[in-house]
């Protein structure tokens, strides 16, 4: 796949991820009840795991997706390296949070799972971009 197509894919996935993280951030700061089919979104979002050093994980996620969106706009080596680092580390952290939802909190947030899928796909896309350089 060409870098141009990969950048398009990374851009679309990052925008989708930013929308999910943006919704979670909005709900957190406006105390809005999340739309939730799995029934565990509030439990997860109000657990200790939803905060990292006092910062909502949703905000960190939003930041990460915006960085990834930024990397999709550039064909430079720096953009490809930064994209891969952010997406791969984000995927590993997302896997840890998914483990926490299933094993510790005993509740699953559908928005988090959607974000997990998106960041995992982004890790693949951004890693392929490294190869295409």
């Amino acid at each position: 796949m060409t870098d141009r197509r990969l950048r398009l894919a990374v851009g679309i996935l990052s925008a989708a991820g930013a929308a999910v993280a943006g919704y979670l951030t909005y709900a957190r700061y406006t105390d809005t009840t999340l739309v939730c089919a799995t029934g565990g979104c509030e439990t997860v979002q109000r657990s200790d795991y939803a905060l990292l050093a006092g910062i909502p994980v949703a905000v960190l996620g939003l930041g990460a997706y915006l960085i990834l969106l930024g990397t999709a706009l550039s064909a430079s080596e720096l953009a490809r390296v930064v994209g891969a680092v952010v997406a791969v580390s984000g995927t590993l952290f997302a896997a840890y949070l998914l483990y926490a939802q299933i094993v510790v909190i005993d509740a699953v947030c559908q928005w988090c799972v959607a974000s997990d899928v998106l960041i995992a796909l982004l890790a693949v896309g951004c890693s392929l971009r490294l190869r295409s350089g």
């Binding site: 565990g40 657990s47 200790d48 580390s89 590993l92 949070l97 510790v104």
Partner: protein, 231 residues
């Protein structure tokens, strides 16, 4: 790109992920707990902030000890236990991940107990049972005087941050609430519980056994929990 670049990207990503996970582990295990002794009975939101709640369960799913609390929302001794023992148990046992408490609601006292219980269990579907129970205890009226009105339930619900009150009211007759009421009754019959508050405990996954409390403060139950934790 060179192999060296791949290795560098992988290494940096691992370090970043490890740092994020470490920060999360420290934040969820090592954080300062709420100062339970300074809390008034309806300060549950601060006391319970960040502790996982799923239905009637409070605490980490992988906690080594499970404690079941049989309680009636109209029972004054349950309110006393909730005000005196519960905050300390949450601070010293639940928040650190040692004990998971399961609420087994019983409507021993009468129709107002049933109304209150159903609302609390419905709030449990939103992870808010323990906050609601705390407020119900703090607002107990005369037994079966009709004090558990829709207005009181709305007032209690409105005081719980993040609770969708109308949804909770709608779900008081739901199948899930019925199932939880039936499960608590079955457990009560199996363990021979005849009064509230009453307790049963076990190592995770083990056989529940009744726990006799010697007083309504935390000291009345912590020796039993410590024995189970030491096994």
């Amino acid at each position: 790109m060179s192999r060296r670049t791949y290795a560098a990207v992988g290494g940096v990503a691992l370090i970043v992920a490890a740092a994020l996970i470490a920060a999360s582990v420290i934040g969820t295990r090592g954080g300062e707990p709420a100062q339970a002794d300074q809390l008034s009975p309806n300060d549950a939101p601060a006391l319970l902030q960040g502790i996982p709640q799923t239905g009637p369960a409070l605490g980490r799913r992988d906690a080594p000890v499970t404690l079941v609390e049989f309680a009636d929302p109209q029972c004054p001794y349950c309110a006393q236990w909730s005000g005196q023992a519960f905050p300390e148990l949450v601070r010293d046992y639940v928040r650190p991940g040692k004990v998971r408490i399961i609420f087994a609601g019983l409507a021993f006292i009468g129709p107002d107990s049933d109304e209150a219980l159903r609302f609390a269990l419905a709030a449990g579907r939103q992870g808010k049972l323990w906050q609601v129970m705390d407020l119900l205890y703090a607002n107990q009226g005369a037994e079966n005087s009709g004090w558990v009105s829709q207005d009181v339930l709305r007032e209690v619900g409105d005081a719980v941050p993040g609770l969708d009150v109308e949804r909770a009211l709608r779900e008081t007759q739901s199948q899930e609430v019925e199932s939880q009421l039936a499960a608590a009754k079955d457990l009560q019959a199996r363990l021979g519980v005849r009064s509230t508050p009453a307790f049963a405990a076990s190592r995770a996954g083990g056989q529940l056994a009744p726990v006799q409390v010697t007083s309504l403060d935390a000291g009345g139950i912590t020796p039993s929990l410590d024995r189970l934790l030491a096994r």
